[in-house]
């Protein structure tokens, strides 16, 4: 009996102690200390720089602590949206701008605080940047983001492989897709019927990148995948069919790209260029130079970069612009402080460019930057444009990715594949 009473008492005490010791809420920071949480995507050169920038900002503002968190690029949109939907999330985040229209529609973001940038209106804010840049961060007539990494794709060749094939990298640099085919057939190496080196590596299994490439090819073919307001899809237009058809021909007709070599779900087509499996590639921005230097020192010594090819007789519209931006959340309790920190980061354009190869979209860095081949990118920024704002960008890009895979991997005709994609996309527009 006594033992039973004792055991009962112990049980009740244990439960009570557990309840009492559960933390009710985090200890409140000292009244004067504000913590800003900043999420960004993983990019090692940028992380190295930003850690020093954070330390410098905290030294300049002793009452502010920055909680810095790099998140894997692919999972950042999901983690961010889930956190924001739960009423939490960071104060400031760095996100690919194509994912933003959905967040704007869900009222998760607040417009830019122009006062933090020392200006009074959108015009004053936009004067820091190229006209084509700020447009990518403007939704519904309001500017929601600070351009934080603006780039486009250029065309890369391996000069050592060109020379081995008896080609002159400078003279023979491809200008049209016909040139790419001709050169690719000389650069593709097969042994025992298997491709050991492909002429060009093309993106795959990367819905975002594939969408940008297809959109750029469609513009080069004289059309648009989507209307400028992002409300209408033109996937079955002649230009889109020509673009995707050419992509498929590089694989099946001209055989200068072999999907069996990759990429896979866990590898990147830039890896194929970097490790010498491919002699050319059509993706990679100025940020690729520092990545190559870090990961592929051999390729880094023998690369050349130039403008994207175009269809013979067609407009040389180059590649799409794309970029990341700094955005402040509507759930943040420190929006003013978050915008001030964003301004601090944006003011370090030279550091970002010189140390991480990232251009922040600003005029000052564009005109003062010095890096190999910078003119290639600088000249092409004016040609390109951002994808239109697509509210269901994740789902739309996944549909386009499947359309591309059907052509590239299954050998389906571009017309048929895009017709299927158009049906899938229509309810989302």
């Amino acid at each position: 009996m006594r033992i039973r009473r004792l055991l009962t008492g112990v049980a009740v005490l244990t439960v009570a102690l557990g309840a009492l010791s559960a933390p009710t809420h985090a200890a409140q920071p000292a009244a004067s200390k504000i913590t800003i949480t900043y999420w960004t995507h993983v990019n090692p050169p940028a992380q190295k720089l930003e850690k020093t920038l954070v330390a410098r900002y905290e030294a300049l503002h002793p009452n502010i602590a920055v909680n810095y968190l790099p998140v894997d690029f692919n999972s950042l949109p999901t983690k961010l949206t889930t956190a924001l939907a739960g009423g939490g999330g960071p104060d400031l985040f760095n996100l690919f701008q194509s994912f933003v229209p959905e967040l704007v529609q869900r009222q998760f973001l607040v417009p830019v605080d122009y006062k933090a940038f020392g200006v009074g209106d959108a015009k004053g804010f936009a004067s820091r940047y190229l006209p084509s840049t700020v447009g990518g961060y403007t939704f519904g007539g309001k500017v929601y983001g600070v351009p934080h990494e603006v780039s486009n794709f250029a065309f890369w060749i391996n000069t050592a492989e060109f020379k081995k094939a008896g080609l002159d990298p400078a003279k023979d640099f491809p200008k049209t897709w016909d040139d790419v085919v001709r050169l690719g057939q000389k650069l593709t190496i097969r042994k025992n019927g298997k491709t050991v080196q492909e002429g060009i590596s093309l993106p795959l299994y990367n819905a975002l990148r594939d969408t940008l490439v297809l959109d750029a090819l469609t513009r080069q073919a004289g059309g648009n995948l989507f209307s400028m307001d992002g409300k209408k899809a033109n996937l079955t237009s002649a230009a889109a069919v020509k673009a995707l058809g050419m992509w498929g021909d590089l694989v099946h007709k001209y055989k200068i790209n072999d999907p069996a070599l990759g990429p896979t779900a866990s590898t990147d087509n830039l890896d194929l260029f970097g490790n010498g499996t491919a002699a050319m590639t059509n993706v990679g921005g100025s940020w690729f130079i520092s990545l190559m230097q870090a990961s592929y020192p051999v390729a880094y010594k023998s690369y050349m970069v130039g403008p994207e090819p175009h269809f013979a007789g067609g407009p040389a519209t180059g590649a799409d612009l794309y970029g990341f931006g700094l955005f402040v959340t509507s759930t943040s309790h420190h929006q003013a402080e978050a915008w001030q920190f964003a301004r601090f980061l944006a003011d370090n354009g030279s550091a970002y460019f010189n140390q991480a190869g990232i251009w922040l979209g600003d005029k000052a860095t564009l005109n003062n930057a010095h890096t190999p081949h910078w003119d290639v990118f600088k000249n092409s920024f004016g040609q390109g444009r951002f994808l239109p704002p697509l509210t269901h960008f994740n789902e739309v890009s996944a549909i386009l990715e499947r359309a591309i895979e059907r052509v590239v991997l299954n050998g389906m005709s571009a017309q048929q594949s895009l017709a299927q994609a158009q049906q899938e996309v229509q309810p989302l527009m």
Binding site: R4, L7, T8, A11, V12, T14, V15, G18, P77, T78, T81, T82, A85, E102, R106, Q107, G193, K194, T195, V196, L204, Y205, D258, P259, A260, L261, G262, T264, A265, S266, T267, H392, N394, E395, A398, E401, R402, E405, R406, L409, N410
Partner: protein, 317 residues
Amino acid sequence: MRYGHGERMDDRVAVQADARRDTAVRARGRGRRRRLARRQALVGFLFVLPGIVPLLIFVVYPMASAFYLSLTNWTLIGAPQFQGLSTYASLLSDQQFLTSLTVTMEIAVGTTIPSCLLAVVVALLLDARVRFTQWYQPLLFVPAVLPSVVTAIVWGIIYQGNGVLNALFGLDVAWLTDPHWALTALIIMIVWTNLGYYAVILLAGLRDVPADYYEAARIDGAGTLAIIWTITLPLIRPALLFVVVTATSGALTLFVQPYLLTSGGPGDATRTLSELIYDTGFSYLGIGKAAAMSFVLLLLSLLIALVQFTILRPKDT
């Protein structure tokens, strides 16, 4: 008190008093026992409460919430709008859902049957107690303890066009980029991963089979195959049931390996239902639709498990 029968009346009263006393004592005893039982029940309940509360909070409540959300069209903003069973009905004509369901069932059949057959063979070989089994067993178990991410990345390299597998066997198969081969590649990887684990479980079952049965069978002239079919397999039925159910449920809820190895591609050739649920819920924010798909998967898993239990449950001897 004196009655007509004097002392007998006194005795009767005394007996009656004794009887009443006994009744009262018994009643008090029953009451005490009831109170004791209630106290014991309360103590028992308090002891299991720390286990029940988390179950209610982290399992029952989320499941109930998910079922409610499956009846709505919630997309994370605003309040969920009740739709009834229309989301479930729409799944019947959703081509992507039907494709993923087919892929999932193909993976379930394609991994469970080979896994179980191979695991039985391996377990029988290990039970033969040849030399160095203490080395074979851990090696066989290694794939099961490797992180899924590591396995997927390594197999991704093995499966490349100019990778180890093609080079070793002189093949020219686009394992991950040919829709006809991608599912096979995934199944091979999963069977390889789980083989050791299932073999060890079956080995434990084999070690429980009394040696006398084998001896008696051999005396009766039974061959090896006959012994396996009539003695071994029936007696390891419980272990076999565990392996079959575990392999099937694991295959039905497969996510990590196809996500990392093929991202569900090429096309939708390896897009499992779990992956579609993840994309629908967290990438496309179709929470209601994702919840509905989850419950369809749950019901399917329960149905299949029920069939497996019915067929494979140990029969009374």
